[in-house]
């Protein structure tokens, strides 16, 4: 019967000799050295013992080469079969070395000639144990090395993936930046063309131009200069947002009257549209930077005005939702298809938007608003209108302070 893979007990020693005296003296001496000795008078007994399901595999077996019941070499081979790592040392009284040498060739660790001194035995034992210790250590180190290797490979893989991800991210950031600069330059060139063109026209022809033309050209110059200033200040705001340099001065303040004040300003500024808004939940506080939040809301409202035809409504809903305060601004414009709603927050989105190209503004408003609101742990997105009909609902959330 074959035994399972066994762990050697480095203190366990088997002694197999048919001479009582040999067994007794080895038992005594080795026990005094701290070994745990089990001795057998016959080969069969040892083999039977090792055939049991559970036994302690010895580090070393000292086996007499000539036994009454069987050949010591056969016993040695059986031991190696049952416990391959047990080292077998042959004891021989035969001055003819042939069988002793043969036993070593067949797997014995060494042989010791009788009569032997106890030191001979101890020396061989300590050599065997040293060898086994080195094997054990070697095996442990190999195992550890294998584990380290696997961990290292895992780590290298993980880092490679992370590097690839950040490379892709950087690349798309770089492309976005390049695109931003290209569009920005395009957007600046348009008002510049008008300003330069009319300035040149006035310089060259002011003597012959009728007064109303001169006035018209000057108005265009003024209007287009304003557009350039607006564009530059928006670009500056965006640049600050993108560099993460936005410094917010946060204070807890009631949000509803704040929204009410901004809407009041818009009603005065754009009397052609009606702004629906009812103040309620006046007690809700949010953490806000007054100037920046006003800028964000104004960008969104200005956008709503831009897309809402004269005489139509802009409706502003406010409500508490769980831990957030929600401001929903609904316009009466053409609306925005679902797949474009996220893109509306990209810089210069309007530039690609054919429907309302004629309205002032650079298309940076929603980008700026998102940057500011996210700086206040809030959010902004475009959804379907609650009030129904065509148009966009811009939904702003801000965390409520309790």
């Amino acid at each position: 019967m074959l035994t399972m893979a066994m762990i050697l007990n480095k203190n366990q020693i088997f002694v197999l000799d048919d001479e009582d005296g040999v067994r007794k003296s080895l038992e005594t001496v080795l026990a005094s050295e701290g070994y745990n000795v089990k001795s057998f008078p016959a080969g069969k007994e040892l083999i039977n013992y090792m055939g049991q399901m559970s036994f302690t595999a010895p580090a070393v077996a000292l086996v007499d080469l000539r036994l009454p019941d069987m050949n010591g070499v056969q016993v040695m081979q059986k031991i190696k079969e049952l416990s391959p790592e047990t080292e077998v040392v042959m004891l021989t009284g035969n001055p003819n070395m042939d069988s002793a040498i043969e036993s070593v060739n067949l797997g014995a660790y060494a042989y010791i000639l009788k009569p032997y001194s106890m030191d001979d035995i101890k020396n061989v034992l300590s050599r065997v144990l040293e060898k086994q210790r080195l094997i054990r250590e070697n095996r442990e180190l190999t195992q550890q090395l294998k584990e380290w290797n696997e961990k290292l490979e895992e780590e290298v893989y993980r880092r490679t993936v992370a590097l690839q991800e950040s490379y892709t991210k950087l690349q798309s950031l770089y492309e976005m930046r390049t695109q931003f600069i290209t569009i920005m330059s395009h957007e600046l060139r348009t008002p510049t063309t008008a300003v330069m063109g009319f300035a040149d026209t006035l310089r060259d022809k002011w003597k012959t131009l009728p007064d109303d033309k001169i006035k018209q050209y000057l108005s265009v110059i003024s209007e287009e200069s304003n557009r350039m200033v607006l564009l530059m200040s928006e670009i500056f705001e965006i640049a600050k947002l993108q560099e993460g340099k936005l410094k917010l001065n946060l204070d807890d303040a009631p949000i509803v009257p704040f929204v009410g004040k901004i809407i009041h300003d818009f009603r005065l500024r754009y009397p052609g549209r009606s702004f629906g808004f009812t103040e309620k939940d006046e007690s809700v506080n949010v953490s806000m930077d007054v100037l920046f939040l006003k800028s964000a809301l104004s960008h969104v409202l200005a956008n709503a005005v831009k897309y809402t035809p004269l005489g139509e409504n802009i409706i502003v809903f406010t409500e508490k939702q769980d831990k957030n305060f929600v401001i929903q601004i609904e316009d009466s414009g053409p609306g925005l298809s679902r797949d474009l709603r996220d893109r509306a927050f990209e810089p210069f989105y309007r530039s690609m938007d054919d429907i309302n190209r004629k309205t002032p503004g650079a298309g940076l408003g929603l980008t700026i608003a998102r940057g500011i609101l996210e700086g206040m742990q809030g959010s902004i997105r475009i959804e379907d209108k609650k009030s129904g009909g065509s148009g966009c609902a811009v939904v702003i959330t801000l965390p409520i302070k309790t």
Binding site: T190, M196, G197, F198, K205, E224
Partner: protein
């Protein structure tokens, strides 16, 4: 009595149309304007201008698309097209010329340069 040179100008910026129309008319050209690509194409087919000035970034049809459609129009394919755009990259200019434009001017431009180019394009 030489007939006036008829120029079609397409740009979606009202102020730029005003600038072009007033200056070119004052110089002696006859000017028809369009505020988007489709209108430019329609008007070109009706009036058959001597030269067409096209902006690129326009609603409905952009300048590239108008240029391409003009090249494939039997009656209009020989009318010289001048692209006048705020797109200033070399690849934009290459693209415009590849689509059949005779000239490409970038914004902002000098009126004198534009008039020189128009007179040059008008030559048989």
């Amino acid at each position: 009595m030489s007939e006036k040179i008829l120029i079609l100008v397409a740009d979606d910026e009202q102020n730029l149309l005003l600038l072009l129309k007033d200056n070119l008319e004052e110089y002696g050209f006859e000017v028809v304007t369009a505020t988007n690509g489709q209108e430019a194409l329609d008007k070109a087919q009706t009036i058959t201008p001597s030269v067409i000035i096209l902006d690129v970034e326009m609603p409905k049809l952009n300048g590239w698309q108008v240029c391409e459609k003009l090249r494939n129009d039997g009656r209009l394919k020989d009318v010289p097209v001048l692209i006048l755009s705020a797109y200033t990259q070399p690849e934009d200019i290459k693209k415009g010329l590849a689509l059949g434009a005779k000239k490409y001017l970038t914004k902002p431009f000098k009126m004198k340069d534009l008039i020189d180019v128009l007179l040059d394009l008008k030559k048989p």
